[in-house]
Symmetry: C2
Subunit: 327 residues, 2 copies
Amino acid sequence: MESTSQLRGKRCAILGAGGFIGRSLSAALVECGADVRACRISGEPGTVPGTSWHRADFASASSLTAAVADAEIVVHCAGRMTPETSNQRPLQDIEENLLGSVRLLECCIDAKVKKLVFASSGGTVYGPGAPTPAAETDATEPISSYGIVKLAYEKYLALYRRSRGLDSVSLRISNVYGRGQEPGARGIVALALSKAVAGEPIAIWGDGSVVRDFVHIDDVVDAIMRSMLLDLPDAPRVYNIGSGVGRSVREVLATIEAIHGRPLTIAYLPGKAADVPYSVLDVRLARQFLGWTPQRAWHEGVQDAYDWLQEELRAPARTPAKRPQQG
Amino acid sequence: MESTSQLRGKRCAILGAGGFIGRSLSAALVECGADVRACRISGEPGTVPGTSWHRADFASASSLTAAVADAEIVVHCAGRMTPETSNQRPLQDIEENLLGSVRLLECCIDAKVKKLVFASSGGTVYGPGAPTPAAETDATEPISSYGIVKLAYEKYLALYRRSRGLDSVSLRISNVYGRGQEPGARGIVALALSKAVAGEPIAIWGDGSVVRDFVHIDDVVDAIMRSMLLDLPDAPRVYNIGSGVGRSVREVLATIEAIHGRPLTIAYLPGKAADVPYSVLDVRLARQFLGWTPQRAWHEGVQDAYDWLQEELRAPARTPAKRPQQG
């Protein structure tokens, strides 16, 4: 990205800085010379070198006020639910992730934040009836509370843009993978890589036919940084961010077997009702307005994540959860 | 409606039974021989003769559990916000109307309720960019928290239908009017009628060019009762309920002037940001699957509401707020 120099000195608050996207983004922003406040709901300071740290509690307006104080740009990639847990606890999901996130908007207004970039969900907002690939204008019929809440928040962002003057961009991100994704994370790529390296069997939900759009973390970080800098008033404010290519879980496992050089032991569990069978994104809008295209090739990206994981395992004193982002 | 006999003896819980739609529906259900529990958040028992009464608090699961206990069908037409107040207090809107309403779903599951009918909002879910008339499949871009919450709740209903087996129908109702609508209510028809009768000036928001789809309360009650009885598994579960005809506020005032026989004094206030300029519904889907069509003619419906209001004013001992529904 040519224009990252524009991020130099920018005061940014990252909500969810302890997660995969948040850590990777924080590290990249530090690299660009941005002034990064890494906000996370729990954990220790020092996740990413060069950032300041704030403990953000979405239930507390004063905590969020402190999180966004003096920030020019806020990136919201916080959230601890999965589609499945959200369906088990929809009231908690609404409370934490919708009510808390709208509370964040109120604090952004008070703090005169200029822009908010939101990590929405390309895999859940469209639902099982979506065309392939799904475009931003297609019908949105989520089958999880997770997806409903993400979608509702996109609409609150539109409302605050229109009526309160807070600019924002929602990125409907597909399944992220890449170096820095912890083995304990939700992603099938990180999970399968860690199981391969450990020589353990991997349990997957369903028969492996579920198709997802896997996008590399570097491409996601690039899309977020471009969104932070988007200043075309008439450009859309909701973008799909994915590879545009569908891969089944079986294909993912085959890639990892090829890289690892040994077959995986796979246990098939019943599929999850909260998961759509097929999700691939049409990413032409982001190309047109953000000048963004996914750059990282699949096989190379998985190989790189595999290499990173091997390095991690050779450095047992530094547990992955607390290590700085490498990529 | 031919099939109202099927409602005889049905145990129904009406949430929001103190409102215009809730009172009218409760009276019609009593007429059909249904067993009606009238639930309202405040006010006195005895709103509608022949109903039992329950004070329902959406913040309390135990209160909602009691509200829907033993009910076969629940109708949710509760809510105290307007689009404008919802934008002033979005956190309260989410808490009361989304969190509270999803809490209701959990209680319905526990109580083994068979069906829930939800009074959604045809005037707010589509937003200003919608085609005219707007169909159920058109894009939904609300410009009020009110509309966002209604839309999100429709999606929760779909989720609970799919994953928890609670059948439901969402009715995107346009602007309701007719006898029984109190002068203090939100509707422009009731407001203008009361001002005409009182000989007082009427203040309207904007220049009167705002176009709405006015649907008669009897037609709305008919649509709700048909939805309560809908048993086609493959039928859609979201329907527009309106007249299908657009009328500007100026036309509404002209109709009322003609009926009243004297000119109104009109004060024009600044328009409201939360209101879309134009909202007319395509109601063909309800015709196809519910066998429903709006029956009441506009001029006749307004005349009837005018006559009702005159009767009300001649019976000062019975204040309108506590009187039983007449229609």
